[in-house]
Subunit: 315 residues, 2 copies
């Protein structure tokens, strides 16, 4: 399979006005796993699709994903992304807003190169995907202000915020290569479940990851009271006394190391790690089961290996 | 012709999450002249197009235009738009960014309903239009920091920032209704020139408008040293002494009434009003000349009347 990184690097951002295009090139050059375009390419390969036919959509998905990171970083006031200053820090907020807008338009420019007979359907799905991401982001913001969030609400949020982009990447890749509607649906469900498994694993690693391999500080979600699968499960499993203790720690903001240790101990007592791992493994299994309904070839093997790697990753 | 306002009002924004969609409904309900969708509808009518075939593109253009206003207001820190608090004031910056992003996606959702055989071309033009607007916005920002801006650079900027949206509204409307390539180009040029005439007239009215009818305070551009057609023409026409006087006033920021009076007197001496009116009339004439190459019917008469109204407007 062609190197998706080369294809991304060959996009030209040396255009005028520089103030608009340089931050786009900067954002796209910062690396990342390129998981979304890779999924689209694998899904296409699974049905013997031509690489040049799926590539525009694959690139559109990656540019779109990086657009969401750019605007999210402004909204979250994040200062570092992949080890480099974020666009609003290196330039300013207005540049991040406007170059982000252009990046979203650039995604649609790439998408417009999808084979004409496939374009109406792909554009519709791409729009549904993009809408899901914005809705997921809004729910995430809303949850910060809400006292009680159910695990079901949380799963719906991460489905929108993380999973639909993976799911549509696979579905669009398969569709362009000629997958049948039921095969498209299997790809979609595979993406949905690996996305959910990925996010739950992320929530587990924030508490139980090895600081040497995780790459981020452990306990970041605990410090800022982020409503993760782990915290929400703890609330669900806790008796009145444990709930009270947890609530007490949520009000603490100036003793982070002590807070992380105490909340982790509480998590240990409640057995939320096992609950998280069970949920993660359930979604991985649901994803893998979808693959059984698809043609078995090298691409299917790649998807299987990807799902298994996600489930056992340490970072 | 159908009432475009009704069509805009019938778009449903009562969806969840409310934090995402309410600001979109609020923005679209704030009125405005609906000039862009109207141009698309007239261009379609000119070629006997079916209203329901052009309507999705017409609505997409209006939603897109309002998206640009929403994000521009954040970037300009504008507090009032059409007599109401802007979204970032009524809600907050993050809401304005995220709801704006969704609004841009909503424009593409509407666009996806364009007849499938016309969609690839319309999507490409829509993307070119959207890119032009972002580039124009960036040049406008760049010009604020530049010491010297030529009138040619300024015209290029307002062409991108204002005219291409009008031009593509007409071209897309005509194309969907079956206009030939040369007719599409005539519509495009008509839109380009009425846009330029409109912006130059705006620059003139800021100095010479009647405060009773203009709706905004007179001299706003003078106070903030905005590089308008009028200011750039003044620099071009000024001798060394006048140039020095003008430079001196640009450094003044605390005596606005005195500054407006002095700069206006300088403009009077240099005859920039007449130069502005000549340029405005030239672009109006160039626009009207395009209409001669098109079928002559009620729609052509509407475009003619619109161009003439723009050239003689007082607000």
């Amino acid at each position: 399979m062609m190197d998706i990184n080369n294809a991304i690097e060959s996009l030209d951002w040396s255009k005028e006005p520089k103030g608009l295009y340089e931050p786009i090139g900067y954002t796209l050059a910062s690396g990342g796993k390129r998981i979304r375009p890779t999924l689209a390419m694998i899904a296409s390969a699974l049905f013997g699709g031509k690489e040049e036919e799926v590539l525009p959509a694959a690139l559109a998905l990656e540019v779109f994903h990086n657009f969401t990171l750019l605007h999210d970083d402004v909204m979250d006031r994040a200062e570092v992304r992949r080890g480099r200053p974020t666009v609003h820090v290196k330039w300013n907020d207005n540049t991040a807003i406007l170059s982000g807008d252009q990046m979203l338009i650039e995604a649609y420019k790439l998408l417009s190169k999808v084979p004409a007979d496939k374009l109406p359907q792909v554009l519709q799905w791409f729009n549904d995907m993009a809408t899901g991401i914005c809705e997921g982001q809004q729910y995430d913001v809303d949850f910060e202000q809400m006292k009680e969030v159910s695990i079901a609400d949380y799963m719906k949020m991460i489905e929108l915020k993380t999973s639909v982009l993976l799911a549509y990447a696979l579905k669009i890749g398969g569709y362009i290569a000629g997958a049948s509607p039921s095969q498209q649906e299997a790809l979609y469900q595979f993406g949905l479940h690996i996305g959910l498994a990925f996010q739950i694993q992320d929530d587990i690693l924030d508490v139980y990851g090895d600081p040497k391999t995780f790459g981020k500080a452990i306990g970041g979600d605990i410090c800022c009271n982020k409503k993760t699968f782990i915290l929400l499960t703890a609330f669900e499993k806790a008796d009145a006394a444990s709930k009270e203790e947890l609530q007490k720690w949520l009000l603490v903001s100036d003793q982070n190391q002590e807070k992380i240790a105490a909340v982790t101990a509480l998590y240990d007592r409640l057995g939320v790690r096992a609950a998280g791992e069970a949920a993660m493994e359930e979604h991985t299994a649901l994803a893998l089961a979808q693959l059984d309904t698809l043609p078995q070839n090298e691409a299917t093997a790649q998807l299987r290996s990807l799902a298994e790697r996600l489930a056992t990753r340490k970072k």
